[in-house]
Symmetry: C2
């Protein structure tokens, strides 16, 4: 049985708590947050505290706080030589105080406060500074996910950066699709199956092979029709840049 203390109360902390709580081989023995209010609803399921000097002995301490707070919190921990990991995509493993055995457990997924998430399909990227800690972190990750992967800090920050494109930026394209349809009395809902299918396609074939549409076909006539139809200058800028992007990828380079 691996004993775990969770520190922090954001979306990642909460989803990790729920996932570990279901795992047979893990026991979350304590949950720390500097503000008890956010975690008091869990007090019947786990020991909660807002006092670092009351932290219990555990096999792994998971710091799931905002990026900027990781370094300072790792310093404040009143013990040393224990395995302390953070969960951030963009923070270097060396930002953790060197008095600890240091590691990273980065779940590569988007977490909403309310939506429940099946953690078994969330890739967990793990890294440890000392080799001896690796098997423990691996075992801990496997208790909640089927996809665990050794990923170093350089690869991790690149994944985090790429995630901004495929998640935040993609979602913003959905938003623009919403704006365009609503402004003309068409239904955004009709686009939802297409959104799903577009995501599904690249599960099996590369985005390069999955591409279709006027930009790839260099179909000037349709492209110009679309630009004429767009009333919002910013929507036009996005249309032009991403059309150019597709054409940089697929052959001829001019818009």
């Amino acid at each position: 049985m691996i004993s775990v203390v969770i520190l922090g109360a954001g979306n990642v902390a909460t989803h990790l708590f729920k996932a570990f709580n279901k795992a047979d081989s893990v026991s979350v023995i304590q949950w720390y947050n500097r503000n008890l209010e956010s975690i008091k609803q869990f007090k019947h399921h786990v020991d909660i505290t807002d006092d670092l000097s009351h932290l219990k002995h555990a096999d792994v301490y998971i710091i799931a706080v905002s990026d900027d707070a990781i370094k300072a919190l790792s310093r404040l921990l009143p013990f040393e030589n224990k395995l302390v990991v953070h969960t951030s995509g963009s923070v270097n493993i060396n930002d953790l105080d060197k008095k600890h055995k240091r590691g990273v457990l980065y779940p590569l997924q988007t977490f909403s406060k309310h939506a429940d998430l099946d953690f078994s399909n969330v890739p967990i990227c793990i890294e440890t500074l000392d080799k001896k800690s690796y098997p423990l972190l691996k075992q801990l990750s496997k208790s909640i996910s089927n996809i665990t992967k050794k990923v170093n800090s350089d690869q991790r920050r690149v994944l985090h950066l790429a995630a901004v494109y495929v998640n935040n930026f993609t979602n913003q394209l959905y938003r623009i699709g919403h704006e365009i349809t609503e402004s003309k009395g068409a239904e955004f809902d009709l686009l939802k199956p297409l959104i799903m299918e577009t995501a599904k396609k690249v599960q099996d074939i590369s985005p390069y092979r999955a591409q279709t549409g006027p930009a790839k076909r260099h179909d000037k006539k349709t492209i110009n029709k679309h630009l004429k139809l767009l009333e919002n200058e910013h929507h036009k800028d996005v249309y032009k840049l991403l059309t150019k992007s597709i054409q940089l990828t697929h052959g001829r380079k001019k818009l």
Copy 2:
């Protein structure tokens, strides 16, 4: 039983043939293409022809050819006063020759040659010029899909435009994600569950509410880290424009 003749041999024509062929209430009695080679593999399942003067009498003629060829083909049809529909998102219903009863049956989905598709979840946008033809086209659409919707030509071209954002442009963001990860020895595969979850989220909540990440948080530190990490100038341009886009949508307007 609705009798149908399909004209054209592209992805849409082929997927429609397969879907109608499975429907109990529809009979595809003939398939025309100017080049028999592309459809001869189906000759044991349907009468095929490359001669417009041999077209059979049917309740509905479905023109599923490239946008530029629709107008001319509709003129060449050697009959009049029959229901003739095209399947394009961006071509006006009036482009069909006025000797016909005119309509549109636009399946709003991305079609690959090879991947099989469950048509029951493909929204079919339908339009007819005369009211009397509408019920027939509705019945025909319902035979293959659970989502059929009356959509006029203005709404349809707006949907087609929005589809470019949520499909082609989104797929290009996946492609950039692929380029970024591969160039640094990280695995694109680790992003696939995130891609699915991002698409799933907006099935239930609006893209506005679904947004997360550094751009929405106006987290300058992470944004600057990312821009520094990007080596490809074009990737940088996309990063900047979509960050700006998210910030236009969510509050403060400067990058």
